[in-house]
């Protein structure tokens, strides 16, 4: 019996790999790519597509730095894309000569994270800010003040993320401190703000945010725009705050790691998901905005039903901090939670 199982297991390992013409290995944000698109691509080009997910840019960077990751496509955020290009971890696949490039919305082309746009094609963008449960909180949400200096219904009932990245960025926006500040005095102000806020924070966690928010366990949570939109579409009484100080922005791009085995298939895939009809499917799945020109009529999340995706306030993209600035961020965070 054991032998039988072992044989089946071995057969399953090798069986799937030889079935298709070629293969394509994706390493992207967990559950970011629409399964429908993967299936469609796989059928159309007879390619076996394997998808692995990560939950932080650092995970991806670590894997690429280690070399020979075995992946053909990854999707870093802008600040990590910059590091990866500078460190020579990515293939120059002449992205600006592709059809995909022509379909990128003007304002997302040739930005500081890839000026020549030779290394990447963007796939999704969004922002991070705070959201409220409208059953639990009915007050104003137009300023980060209500989140960082909570009063009344929000006191003791707000939740932060467990990592400093976006949260510190939002605090910097609120205080008017530039991202990646290397000035200890400025960062001390960030720490003081977060320390004062801590008394009102119920939990620092990046897991199960939807559960906490939908059930009303907390009244406000630091969160991402698309997740709020998706929870709201599923019927949860949640709303994304448009804070006048601005929102912390991000944009993820498809890239090809250096030495990828299936470069041609990777380019094919990038072209494929960047077509207007497929970009629309992708946006409807992921619930984050698409930097591509999409088919407006087929969009599931519009300005009316998903205002969170159409910010009316400035969105400031996070930056890659110098080691000195990063140490200040880490120091703020460890002193906050010491």
């Amino acid at each position: 019996m054991t032998k039988f199982y072992a044989a089946t297991a071995i057969a399953m390992c090798f069986g799937s790999a030889v079935a298709a013409e070629g293969s394509l290995n994706l390493y992207v944000w967990s559950e970011s790519i629409a399964p429908e698109l993967i299936e469609k691509f796989s059928n159309e080009y007879d390619v076996q597509v394997n998808v692995d997910g990560y939950t932080s840019n650092e995970d991806l960077l670590t894997k690429l730095q280690a070399g020979s990751s075995g992946y053909d496509i990854a999707s870093p955020s802008q600040h990590f894309l910059r590091i990866m290009i500078d460190a020579g971890l990515l293939e120059n696949f002449g992205a600006n000569t592709l059809d995909a490039y022509a379909n990128i919305q003007e304002k997302y082309r040739n930005q500081w994270w890839d000026e020549t746009q030779e290394y990447s094609i963007p796939i999704a963008y969004g922002s991070a800010g705070f959201s409220v449960n409208t059953d639990e909180y009915t007050g104003p949400t137009d300023s980060l003040k209500y989140f960082f200096e909570p009063e009344g219904e929000l006191a003791g009932r707000i939740a932060m993320l467990s990592y400093p990245d976006e949260v510190v960025g939002a605090a910097q926006l609120y205080l008017g401190v530039p991202f990646c500040s290397e000035d200890p005095a400025e960062m001390k102000r960030v720490l003081d703000l977060l320390m004062a806020q801590k008394e009102s924070v119920a939990v620092y966690s990046s897991d199960n945010i939807e559960g906490r928010m939908s059930s009303g366990e907390v009244a406000a949570h630091f969160w991402w725009d698309g997740e709020v939109v998706r929870a709201a579409a599923a019927g949860a009484p949640v709303e994304y705050a448009m804070t006048k100080e601005g929102l912390v922005g991000w944009i993820d791009s498809l890239v090809i790691p250096k030495g990828a085995q299936n470069r041609e298939n990777a380019i094919r895939f990038i072209e494929f998901v960047s077509k207007p009809e497929n970009a629309t499917i992708q946006m409807n799945h992921y619930a984050h905005s698409s930097p591509m020109n999409v088919i407006e009529a087929e969009k599931k999340y519009t300005e009316e039903n998903a205002p969170g995706l159409y910010p009316t306030v400035p969105v400031v993209m996070s930056r890659t901090c110098s080691p000195k600035a990063q140490d200040l961020v880490t120091r703020v965070w460890t002193q906050l939670l010491q």
Partner: protein
């Protein structure tokens, strides 16, 4: 068969006894070298390496990873003594110790009771103790989040009897401990059960015959004889509890860092691998100290007896 046995009997036995164990243990040694010793050497090397600007490290010799545990640049830009990491280390030791003690207090009666059951029921009960291991740890922690959370059965129960609304069991040290004890208690029950089962019942009878009351019997007879099981259960609980990340973050609300999450932060967003490796080394050394201490004690006890 009988020929072979006869042949073996003729060859000098001493020689075989020296060679065979080494050959036979080779797979275990290889596993130890590749899965344990080499990784630890790498962590040691990284803890002395020079940090890379964007995560990672460059080979070299730099003590700043260890120095940072005690001294850092303050907000005014001067080097100063920073107690925050010591506080985190001490808190982690405290959490692991309290978890171990609670597990012990709860596990000894359970193990004693199971050991006293008739044969068939005994094996069913031991099986039930191991049952939670069949599920992923994160699922078990989530289950506790449901039990203790808002709309959870426990809160419902208390609200039924007039508990004030707004009461919560989640996101405090109690919630962390509940999940920790639940997660690790099987590791305590099993070794304690094994040593209680071996306990000679006549010794307890003898203790009673000599007018030892129940408390004296427990203290002077049962506990000393089950000490090895308790010690190994204690190690099995203490060591993983020391590195716990899930329970403090998910149940405790992550308001206070533990060593596990500190290491995670340094290897992740903090982008300071050598420092993360240095903290990991400290964690490992503390565990080693406990283990060596226990080993020395039991060696001494053996010599004495």
């Amino acid at each position: 068969m009988s020929e072979a046995t006869a042949h073996h009997a003729d060859t000098p036995r001493r020689r075989r006894q020296i060679n065979l164990p080494y050959v036979g243990l080779a797979p275990a040694w290889l596993l130890m070298i590749f899965a344990l010793i080499i990784p630890i050497l790498i962590i040691i090397a990284v803890s002395f390496a020079v940090r890379g600007a964007y995560g990672g490290f460059d080979w070299g010799f730099d003590l700043s990873g260890y120095r940072q545990i005690l001294f850092n640049e303050g907000w005014t830009g001067e080097m100063e003594f920073t107690p925050q990491y010591l506080i985190i280390i001490l808190r982690t030791i405290l959490l692991a110790t309290v978890t171990t003690v609670l597990c012990l207090i709860l596990a000894v009666p359970v193990a004693y009771w199971i050991a006293g059951q008739p044969g068939h029921r005994k094996s069913v009960l031991v099986f039930l103790v191991t049952l939670p291991f069949w599920m992923s740890m994160i699922l078990r922690v989530y289950a506790w989040m449901i039990i203790l959370g808002k709309d959870g059965p426990l809160l419902r129960f208390f609200e039924f009897f007039g508990a004030p609304s707004g009461m919560t069991f989640m996101y405090n040290d109690g919630a962390t401990l509940a999940a920790m004890v639940y997660t690790y208690i099987p590791l305590m029950v099993l070794p304690v059960f094994a040593s209680i089962e071996k306990l000679d019942g006549t010794l307890i009878e003898a203790a009673h015959d000599l007018y030892g009351n129940r408390w004296t019997t427990l203290r002077r007879v049962i506990l000393p004889l089950t000490a090895p099981g308790i010690a190994s259960g204690g190690i099995l609980v203490f060591v993983p509890a020391f590195g716990a990340v899930l329970e403090p973050t998910l149940m405790g609300g992550g308001k206070q860092m533990m060593m596990g999450s500190l290491i995670q932060l340094q290897f992740g967003g903090g982008r300071n691998w050598p420092f993360g490796a240095a903290i990991a080394m400290i964690l490992m050394m503390l565990v080693m100290l406990v283990l060596v201490g226990l080993a020395l004690r039991s060696a001494r006890n053996e010599v004495e007896s």
